[in-house]
């Protein structure tokens, strides 16, 4: 791979998009104000690719989300910037009843290469309607792939791979990660969907962390190292299809599991991972799996209220400590 530089997460997404657009002229990007792009991932695309391939839409989420189905069936590879995760709710019929089901209901006649990407999750007092992370809901839809990278390097490679994938893919860019930096290779590359990565090796406990919580988990792992605790951090990167093997292998090694998810705890991705591990690696567990996720309320506005609900470093380390304190079975 070519040279690496440290760039912003959002820039990494842009590069993934740009590389895929250079490679294949059927890739088009649409969304509200994608020419200027408030979040930034599409900024600069219009200068290179023009307004036929980078198109501003009216505020009609259901319709432009659905239009991608027809366009994909006609031979395009549409990429949609949905701007904010909660806007999926506005377009759910087209996402869940149409895009996700048409390939299946047709008996496998059609492939729908579509990417729906969005900034999502809490970004600091954005309040309930702009802090959602609807990945658990979309994981449950069946027929959508769900991607949620935790680093700029993964964001670039997964974006490129998502665009090449013949299926509808939902790509979540954790909002707080947008302005974080990390090393990213210069040239085009893809990271396969459905492959987790062990971000840090350890012996005592496996922490599966998703999106922005990967960095938190790594930070907590650093701290706990001073206390003599060795934490392994696994980032699934893709939630559907989920790389069960990497997760199970890790838990079989460490015997303990903590799952960190930026979503309400009920039916979260954390719940799914904990359930899979309980079912399939029960024998290797030395303690009950623990989930660290949001309280089951909408995300509140006031900073003190928001902090109470969301995942932070303390909650992660408390969960790790509690699994370690559990007597060995």
């Amino acid at each position: 791979m070519a040279e690496e530089r440290s760039i912003y997460f959002i820039k990494a997404m842009y590069e993934g998009l740009r590389d895929a657009m250079r490679e294949d002229e059927t890739v088009v990007v649409i969304g509200e104000d994608v020419d200027r792009s408030i979040i930034g991932a599409t900024r600069g695309l219009i200068e290179e690719f023009g307004d036929e391939r980078v198109k501003n839409t009216p505020i009609s989420e259901a319709t432009f989300v659905g239009a991608c189905i027809g366009a994909a069936a006609a031979g395009m590879r549409p990429v949609v910037d949905l701007m904010v995760g909660s806007f999926f709710y506005v377009s759910m019929d087209q996402v869940a009843n149409q895009a996700a089901k048409l390939p299946y209901m047709s008996g496998g006649q059609v492939s729908l290469p579509i990417v729906y990407f969005t900034a999502s999750g809490p970004s600091g007092s954005a309040a309930a309607q702009h802090s959602e992370n609807p990945h658990p809901m979309l994981m449950n839809v069946a027929g959508l792939k769900v991607v949620m990278p935790g680093s700029p390097r993964d964001a670039k490679g997964l974006m490129h791979a998502a665009i090449k994938d013949p299926n509808p893919v939902v790509f979540f860019q954790d909002a707080v990660l947008g302005g974080t930096r990390g090393p990213v290779p210069d040239g085009p590359y893809q990271i396969p969907l459905g492959e987790a990565e062990v971000k840090r090796e350890g012996e005592d406990v496996t922490v599966v962390a998703i999106g922005a919580l990967v960095n938190r988990a790594l930070r907590v792992a650093d701290k706990l190292k001073n206390e003599g605790v060795s934490v392994e951090v696994v980032d699934p990167r893709t939630l559907v299809p989920l790389d069960k093997k990497t997760i199970l292998d890790s838990v079989r090694k460490t015997g303990r599991l903590v799952v960190c998810d930026n979503a309400r705890i009920t039916c979260s991705a954390a719940s799914e991972v904990a359930a899979i591990v309980s079912e399939e690696a029960f024998d290797s567990l030395k303690a009950a799996p623990r989930r660290v996720a949001w309280e089951d309320v909408p995300v509140p506005f006031s900073p003190v209220l928001e902090k109470r609900v969301l995942v932070d470093d303390e909650k992660i380390s408390a969960a790790i400590r509690s699994t370690l304190a559990t007597a060995t079975v």
């Binding site: 839409t57 009609s60 319709t63 659905g66 027809g70 069936a73 031979g75 395009m76 019929d93 047709s106």
Partner: protein, 341 residues
Amino acid sequence: MRDGGVRAELGDEKLVEMLRLMFRIRRFEEKLARLFKRGKLPGFVHLYIGEEAVAVGACSALKREDRITSTHRGHGHVIAKGAEVRRMMAELLGKVDGYCRGKGGSMHTVDFGLGVMGTNGIVGGGIPIAVGSAWGDKQLGRDYVTVSFFGDGASNQGVFFESMNLAAIWKLPVIFMCENNGYTEWTATEKLTAGDISDRGRAFGIPSARVDGNDVLAVNEAVAEAVRLARAGGGPSLIEAKTYRWHGHNEGEEVFSGKYRPEEEMAEWREKDPIAALGARLTEWGVMGADDVARVDAEETRRVEEALEFAQQSPFPDPEEALAHLFYGERPGLQKEVLGG
């Protein structure tokens, strides 16, 4: 009644083919009604009888490569677009030779080979998809057209308005084809739908027309005009076709619906049978004799009989197929993997 100008334009062969397709839809659906009564049809079914002129009039103005999106009442559209009734029957019986290998059924029949992007269980669901299909074709430099069939009830869905707006600003080759059959389930259209549906297009600057939906040639003419405009880069059109469904909203509705349509109204529309009207016109023009009309009908009746035999003989899919086709190009059995079975 139209004169020989239409005859010259369409040609006798095409006119006979249009009559044939209308018979095919009618006989196919009558068969479905009987199967449903005998408890032989899985699920529930919405029949199109009485509305055949809209599907046939519209699809006769299209090329095979043109696409359609359809509705919960979609058999007519699919047949008019060229589907084989035996594969439709197999689909409706959940058999492996069905268009979707038994995964779609009446409300989700898909055949991309015929440009049928799906009938649809969600009212209004196909409208944005049609817009996107037209967008894709425009972007790829093809001159294809997409027709979105939807009902008067669907015309109150938000996506209809959003879709007209998007199609208009992007000048997309899509035709919004509203079938106004007077009812939305069991409620008269005028109680639920303000103003004239065709007027809604004008608000977006979209050329809009109202046609007699029981006159297959009038529908064809209106759609052909919209197709010409679309292929020439002129953008979308809206056509509202006024028609009537002879059967209930769905088969078997009597058990709960009560009486909701006046007898005289139903009788009046049966008088306006679109198939009889075309048959009469073609005999009057000397395109075919009365016995030819009867022969075409008999051939289509037989075709439907054969379709049923074919479908009955077709096997059910292997139950494991339920796990296939979730993701394109991947092997079946995902759920098994997840459960570690």
